[in-house]
């Protein structure tokens, strides 16, 4: 800490402190401006991918399919319960849940990501 303070003091000693500070601020702003646009539109092609390491992406894939099937099963069970359409609601929605599971996996892995891509293009 002391070392840093000393270095700062040395840097300020050479030039007038006011101008140096505002110059530094401007330089920082320029740097931020240079970084921002590249971070925003460059990576916006698919929100699914942004800021995620491949490892994190792989971790998410494992449950996507199962979750779709479970969601379909729960929905089917509820539909059967409410409308008294026993086995049919469960059968149909479980199958749809499987499809949704595949859909989840495809979207998470980057295939068939047409919808998010188009949406992003029009949004930003």
């Amino acid at each position: 800490m002391n070392g840093d303070d000393a270095r700062d003091g040395n840097g300020d000693a050479g030039k007038p402190p006011e101008g140096d500070l505002s110059a530094r601020l401007r330089r920082l702003e320029a740097q931020i401006e240079r970084k921002r646009p590249s971070a925003a539109p460059g990576t916006s092609s698919r929100p699914q991918d942004t800021g995620r390491t491949p490892l994190a992406q792989a971790m998410t894939l494992s449950t996507e399919f199962v979750a779709g099937v479970i969601a379909g099963g729960i929905l089917g069970w509820i539909v059967d319960h409410v409308f008294g359409t026993k086995p049919w609601g469960l059968i149909v929605l479980l199958l749809l849940g499987c499809v949704a599971g595949f859909y989840n996996v495809l979207r998470a892995s980057g295939f068939g990501g047409t919808r998010p891509q188009r949406r992003d293009g029009s949004d930003r």
Binding site: M59, T63, A71, Y103
Partner: protein, 251 residues
């Protein structure tokens, strides 16, 4: 000599202060709740106490807090754009809560709160209700355009819309099951491999093999630390991505 193993035992809830009953369900202040309070305490320590001095050259804990803050801010910004900034506190709280609880679980003899499905599902339900609530509040019925993919023939919509709805409902499930399953499986695996060491040591001549599972246990411990951090990160990222749907629903 028979040594019995019970890898599930570590996940049992122990009531510390019984609070009464609702129907047949016992209400109690459990060790799970205690760990959650401890986690909030640690997070408060990192974020409030350490940054109280607001020194320009940050100290150790302050720079730790700044690293977390900037990391989550970056994640939220990349996933949602400028409009998502207001959700940064929510994502940051969730990330810190999950991360600290995951890491608490790595302390020997400690209890892993996030290995309980109801905890992770509670967090996921919070995220999804924020997404739906904010989406409907901000975009009204337009929010449900999320379920209607654009540029698709009308005939296919009859199949695609239910699939999209199921896919949306599966989000809180996958979000909660992922975190819960990773923590549960990791802790069970560590326990079992560690038990192999004991079992081999008691197996006479076979005990020469006992360093094998010991090394595996060490490797697994390292892996679990990675998983603990990574799952917190995945939770935060997916929260940000789902919030993006609330901010910019379709078309």
């Amino acid at each position: 000599m028979a040594v019995t193993i019970d890898p599930i035992h570590q996940f049992e809830l122990k009531s510390l202060v019984p609070l009464g009953h609702i129907g047949h369900q016992q209400l109690a202040f459990t060790q799970s709740a205690l760990y959650m309070f401890a986690a909030v305490g640690v997070i408060a320590l990192i974020t409030i106490v350490a940054t109280a001095s607001r020194s320009i050259v940050p100290g150790r804990i302050q720079s730790l807090a700044e690293v977390f803050y900037e990391f989550i801010d970056d994640t939220v910004y990349q996933a949602t754009g400028e409009g998502g900034r207001k959700f940064m506190p929510l994502v940051f709280s969730l990330f810190m809560f999950v991360l600290i609880l995951n890491l608490f679980g790595m302390i020997p003899y400690a209890f892993a709160v996030t290995s309980h499905l109801i905890i992770t599902f509670g967090l996921a339900a919070l995220v999804i209700s924020v997404v739906v609530g904010y989406g409907v509040y901000k975009h009204g019925a337009h929010f449900f355009g999320l379920f209607v993919p654009s540029g698709v023939p009308k005939v296919l919509l009859a199949i695609l819309v239910p699939i999209e709805i199921i896919s949306f409902i599966s989000r809180p499930i996958s979000l909660s099951v992922r975190l819960f399953a990773n923590m549960l499986a990791g802790h069970i695996a560590m326990k079992i491999f560690a038990f192999f060491v004991v079992q081999l040591l008691l197996a006479g001549a076979w005990s020469v093999l006992s360093p094998l599972p010991l090394f595996l246990t060490i490797a697994l411990t390292a892996l679990e630390f990675l998983v603990a951090a990574l799952q917190a990160y995945v939770f935060a990222t997916l929260t940000a991505i789902y919030l993006n749907d609330a901010l910019h629903p379709g078309h």
